[in-house]
Amino acid sequence: MEQIINNVYEMTAFSNIIEANGTYLIMYLLAFVLLYLGIKKHFEPLLLIPIAFGVLIANFPGGEMGVYQADEAGRIVDAAGNVLAENIWEMSLPQIAHDLGLMNFLYYMLIKTGFLPPIIFMGVGALTDFGPMLRNLRLSIFGAAAQLGIFSVVLIAIGSGAFNIKEAAALGIIGGADGPTAIYTTIKLAPHLLAPIAIAAYSYMALVPVIIPLVVKLLCSEKELKINMKEQDKLFPSSNKIKNEKLIKIIFPIAVTTIVALLVPSAVSLIGMLMFGNLLKEIGADTSRLFDTISNSIMNTATVFLGLCVGATMTVQAFLNWTTIGIIIGGFFAFGLSIASGICMVKIVNLFSKKKINPLIGATGLSAVPMASRVCNEISTKYDSKNHVLNYCMSSNVSGVIGSAVAAGVLISFLQGMAL
């Protein structure tokens, strides 16, 4: 009888969970907190909920739902030191599914190949309107200034001695405030850090309503925040009146893809897919079926698998270490510095220009579309109820998506082939 009870006990996950001194419990707690934030607090629920559920199912010993990270040679070793695969790159997908479980099959097929982030970018493109950017082209430059946070944190992370240059680059890209870009860059440069970087990126994006007001309060005066963009437009009218917006919106994605492809080819997988999605939207009735598919079915499917797979990489072994804490802290700095550098750029421009710009437009130079713009609009209307800056913020916000994808392209093209 005792033998039967022992066998049943060994069959369940309890034996391993108890032996692991509570480390699994920390992961369950993390999963529950993320589920709570997604379900109850509505923080990025479309991504946080699949990620959180992925974390939960990946951390039941014996469940075989956790993702194993292969080293550069493709060797996979489990926590106990057992070799699970000598070279995963030589294994077929059915073999990976058979030997390592369903989640590893999905991870190595959809994530490790870099397939899903560009697919999500295609859906993002279909949901993006470049109209505000085209109507306020000169404000788009703040989307470039805000990328300073990415490169500054690469420098700081290396200076700390805790990260090598590839890991630091993957950490810095959190400052772009763009989930798919962060995931894509990390897959290319430091795949073993995918879980904490994805979690940090999406958590900080969800915390945009807290972080932007904090940085704005530190750097902007009330007088600056009261700068009314519409009044400035009346005082100094723009010379670029658009007469045929539909045609420009169709040509724009084609032209931008071509230019970016020529200058930073490694960013084409992101920018190209973003612009392709946007083109299908702008063409209108002729491609409405494709637009509908990429902005709904494909994007939703990709989001489900991306979230689950990223969550499943967060196993006890991969997540509970000092590197994760470093990423959480570094990610916050990257985010804050990106917002601050956008604001500072506006202040510099205001020194030399008669037409003043509200610094909130610089604060939206990071991606996080459209939440960053909405938050900045709320801040401006708090100081002056008639001062709506949403359309102006969207200009730098959308250009920030292009900026962060270009920054990712630079990091990948410089570092991917680098030997450490």
Binding site: L134, L155, I248, I251, I259, S399, V406, A407
Partner: protein, 89 residues
């Protein structure tokens, strides 16, 4: 090793920021060029807007008013006539 990495990171900072600024400046001027070219050679929407002003004026007459006018015309003409165009004076 760290010194080499810091040098590499500094290079990345300079090259990366220059590239991002350059690409977005090109995008901005490309946008301006497109707007100028389209305004010059294909300002169709402006024409459509002029045409649509009349349509907007008709649309400005709400459905209830239109129904009343239709009913009145129908009653006066004994069901033989109908209102083709309604214009605000």
């Amino acid at each position: 090793m760290i010194t080499n990495d810091i040098t590499g990171a500094l290079q990345l900072l300079v090259v990366g920021m220059i590239t991002v600024f350059l690409v977005l400046l090109i995008v901005i001027y490309l946008g301006k060029l497109l707007i100028w070219a389209v305004n010059k050679w294909a300002p169709e929407e402006a024409v459509a807007n002029k045409g649509s002003k009349a349509a907007n004026a008709v649309a400005a007459i709400d459905a209830t008013t239109k129904a009343i006018i239709d009913a009145t015309v129908s009653q006066i003409t004994g069901g033989k006539g109908r209102a083709n165009k309604i214009t605000k004076l």
